[in-house]
Symmetry: C4
Subunit: 123 residues, 4 copies
Amino acid sequence: MNGKKSWYIVDGYRPPENKGGAEDYVGHECIMILNCNDEEAHVEIDVYFPDQEPVKGIPYQVPARRIRAFRTNDRNVFKDLELDVGRQYSLNIRSDVDVVVQYGRLDINQDNMAYMATLGYSD
Amino acid sequence: MNGKKSWYIVDGYRPPENKGGAEDYVGHECIMILNCNDEEAHVEIDVYFPDQEPVKGIPYQVPARRIRAFRTNDRNVFKDLELDVGRQYSLNIRSDVDVVVQYGRLDINQDNMAYMATLGYSD
Amino acid sequence: MNGKKSWYIVDGYRPPENKGGAEDYVGHECIMILNCNDEEAHVEIDVYFPDQEPVKGIPYQVPARRIRAFRTNDRNVFKDLELDVGRQYSLNIRSDVDVVVQYGRLDINQDNMAYMATLGYSD
Amino acid sequence: MNGKKSWYIVDGYRPPENKGGAEDYVGHECIMILNCNDEEAHVEIDVYFPDQEPVKGIPYQVPARRIRAFRTNDRNVFKDLELDVGRQYSLNIRSDVDVVVQYGRLDINQDNMAYMATLGYSD
């Protein structure tokens, strides 16, 4: 096995991008997907909100034997869906082959950055 | 499956709210519960302490297909139970349908914030 | 089930206690054990090192329905064993009843604190 | 059981080493492997990238009953493979006996350090 087919990221929350004293870093969230298989992974992303119906089935691909990452402000991935800065949401990331998913957030809202990292949850 | 029915948060600890140099953030803890099911989740929260009997069965609801979050100083949730700043406690979060639970803490006790994030533990 | 009987903390490392600009916090590591059972948990702690044989079977108790925590500089727990500041070690925490174990570190080596938190690993 | 035989670290990323105001710490990543068995663990490390084929089978040993750690800029481990600062990669750590794997990163890109810690993922 090379991971799982369904992963949950509960605490999605976009930090501001350019506030604070950071010179080299930009505040962001990043979803990283590792595909150790010899086939491409066809991924679908469902986005859940506190106060509206989920947006389901956003497509994403990870080539065979690659790690690929996207930021949550990437309109090539999320297209019509704008995940606003400061709004809570969750992700369910579903793949047709086993993958491993990790989430990272870098917050530079103050003069010094704060990191947050969690593995996704899989069952 | 969309998660588990029982989750543990071991390290509950409320940071001070307004100390330090933060302008945009308030020190807090937050419990986030993702319900990907088509039924409402009826949740019960048990609070464990170092030195007294647990307080059990605090009710909370998460609507179908929603992420909901509460802070540990929310008296609408905890009602008579005051979780004091600086006191250690643990939570067991039990649901009648599968959910995924994550915990976050933002500490602004000093001039710059410190993040802490963990998935709950489920068995 | 209320957790597991064996937990691993891989990255044990005591930070300095009083360096940096912290006024309210003391640099420390903390091991937190949640016992939701109606019986006392009899715990044994094994300490592993990079370059010497492990020290095994340090006893610890967690009363029924309680969360208990100890710091790694607590000589009441570790007695003859001094875990030096800045030395790498790992812990295996074994209990006769199911418990949940979390690890936290607060580093104040610089002017602002840095948090680190992980669940233990259980199998 | 003393862990698992295969672990994934998705978010590998080397921070700069000497930037920022840190005096006592050097920015780094560290992989920690705990071997609680009575036999030596023969480990092989596979490194995955966003844009090239993986480098597989880098050998590493952990003696019986020891915790061992290596930094990702350690050329004794990675030999010909230079993991560049600021480049994304992932690791699959495979062992012939059960081990537990944790990942840590210390970023001192700004005046104050930021910690990141996760258990590896095992299946």
